[in-house]
């Protein structure tokens, strides 16, 4: 589906339309400013690729959107459908429909994929509410999504997203290969059905076959009621996932936004060009 077709669909389905707005976002750790005024608006149905060199602050942006507590927002705002999400904890943001696919998913011994995902899905879909969670010390058992229903859906989606059914019982990311971790991230996204997914270098460290599987998963999930921020270092994944917009991220801010041609330009000319042409030409600080 091309961008025009996708935005047409969006207009037809206004009820599912959501907007994620990042406004003049400044973020620091201690005295070090990492994000220096990021502006970006993402609508449902859009895939926005963000490309930038290592250390430019791309991952920081993804962590801040997801609500990582280590970063301090010093200026600006992040709005989901007009409401600021900055005061929300990471879990509240997940429940409002933000999903972050991690560049480096952690492995957690003893916690099975199915067990963890059932709790996550139950929270996000509202099987559990805050009151019951608080009353039960946040320990939820009886108010989870019914086991059979959950299992059926998980099995279906594991097939659809090329994750072997044995992974349900395996401990989260323990002993998973790079490709298996990234596929499991996509599976989780499929189960949690977010409004906006931020994919932090979901293509990194994958061989071409693994990359295709992950890209295929993203394409399946790229419906008109869902927006994607696809963070990547390389143009490679954009051969498989077609973006509507491409931004170049450099030195803690977006220095250029355009269509898919920007990615090709970057591929051709490299980040040196960005530094020489775009950063030098940008508004001086």
């Amino acid at each position: 589906m091309n961008a025009a077709a996708r935005s047409r669909n969006c207009e037809e389905q206004k009820t599912h339309m959501s907007t994620l707005e990042i406004q003049n976002l400044h973020v620091a750790i201690g005295d070090t400013e990492i994000l220096k005024g990021v502006d970006l608006t993402l609508h449902s149905g859009e895939i926005h690729a963000m490309m930038g060199p290592n250390g430019s602050g791309k991952s920081t942006l993804s962590y801040v959107i997801a609500g990582h507590p280590h970063y301090e927002v010093t200026q600006g705002d992040i709005l989901l459908d007009g409401e600021s999400i900055l005061d929300m904890e990471a879990d509240e943001r997940a429940r409002t429909g933000i999903f972050l696919a991690f560049q480096y998913p952690v492995s957690i011994p003893g916690v099975s994929v199915a067990n963890f995902l059932r709790t996550a899905v139950s929270n996000v879909r509202g099987f559990t509410n805050k009151e019951s969670a608080a009353a039960d010390n946040g320990v939820i058992g009886s108010n989870l999504m019914p086991m059979r229903e959950f299992r059926r859906e998980l099995n279906t989606k594991m097939k659809e997203f090329n994750v072997d059914s044995s992974f349900a019982r395996r401990y989260l990311n323990e002993g998973f290969s790079g490709g298996e971790k990234k596929r499991t991230e996509v599976l989780q996204m499929a189960m949690l059905e977010p409004k906006f997914a931020i994919l932090d270098e979901s293509d990194s460290g994958l061989d071409i076959d693994a990359l295709k599987v992950v890209a295929d998963g993203i394409n399946k999930l790229a419906t008109q009621d869902r927006g994607f921020l696809l963070i990547t270092h390389y143009q490679r994944i954009l051969n498989f996932v077609k973006p509507d917009y491409v931004s170049i991220f450099f030195g803690g801010r977006i220095v250029k936004t355009g269509g898919p041609e920007v990615a090709l330009m970057l591929e051709e000319r490299g980040y040196k060009w960005v530094e020489d042409e775009l950063v030098a030409g940008a508004v001086p600080v």
């Binding site: 904890e89 991690f102 952690v106 003893g110 916690v111 320990v139």
Partner: protein, 445 residues
Amino acid sequence: MTLLIERPSEFVEAPTGFSQETVRLASEAKNEPDWMLDFRLRAWQRFESMPWPKPTDEAWRRTRLTGFNLDNYAPFATHKGTAERQDLDPELLEALDEVDSAASLIYQDGGLLYRQESDNLARQSVIFTDLQTAVQQHPELVQRYFMTEAVSPDANKFTALHAALWDTGSFIFVPRNTTVTLPLQAILNQGDGVGGYHHTLLVAEEGAEVTVVDDLFGAQDAFQTSVVELIVRDNAQVRYINLQDFQHTAWNFLTGRAVLGKDTDLRWIQVSWGSRLTKAFLDLDLQGQGGHGELLGLYFPTRRQHIDHQTLQLHRVPNCFSDLLFNGALKHRARSVYMGIIKVLPGAQKTDAFQRNGNLILDRSARSDSIPGLEIEADDVRCTHAATAAQVEDEYVFYLMARGLTRPQAERMIVQGFLQGVLDRVPVESVMHKLEKVISRKISR
């Protein structure tokens, strides 16, 4: 309130102070035969002759008895008789019904409070009774096995005190080639401000199979010195769970030893949730070839609790297997100590022994010490040990929260995951659920 339907034949004045006279009073209150009184008095002499542990003793270097003084406690509880099921406190009823058991005993105030028997056990000639009754009804068996083979009164200062003043306890005797399918359950609700001396004496004869669950709680401002003796004869299979959840004002001293014959199969699960301080000595004594012993531990001290496990895997003969896994989580200035030795005597070739201790530190104020050790005097053995201490990574919590789990859910999942290696090996499902509940409770407060 429990209704008293039976009173001891003689009233005993509430005892004060620890002395030889106290030991006599304790025995008298139970109308014991002379041989048991003599046993107690000999043990009291040993107690008096043994010094208190000193901070310079290797076993007590990391666990101090500062603040512990016998004089702060009534030396033994005064038994107030038995009760009917409908009169049991809700806490006891809950503990009783939590585990699907073949038979149950409940102890309170230094004696038996309630007994839930099974005709089936009687038909199988299985003895499952309180130790005081066993002294009266099976004196030859008690004389043969009680603190003779597994744990001696001389083992340490606390076992001597225990031998002199033991009060509650279970005697479990499973005859040759007899299988008890459901667990046998013993519950102790220790009283406040008093010394408690709980005993578990299990004898599984050749080819017998049994599962026993000890569920210990109570002991507000009290102390407990318990002894566990598991005597596992050739080809027998024993599953034993010791679930300690005393009040956080209780001092708790435990000495336990399992003696394993030929081709035996033992799994001992030691759970140390409660007490202000626990010092537990736990030994596997592999005496017959082909013995298979597992010693698994769980602990989760919070709020300044101090939990110390000291273990011994003693391989006396060839071709035995022992596996030890102690996993604990800690928070709130809590402290855990694990000391363990795998000891392989000369000639115990083809020994296969593992020892692992893992600690998960939930906040920086908690501390764990782990001192694993090997003493190997045979040359053809495989022995490994490992100790780890890890923090709950903020990145773990963030990952789970970014998927929609609340912080308590995330922490609970990480801790439970960490303890899962032991939980997976709890042989009684209802006990496993009970443990999971306690873990949740401990995480949330």
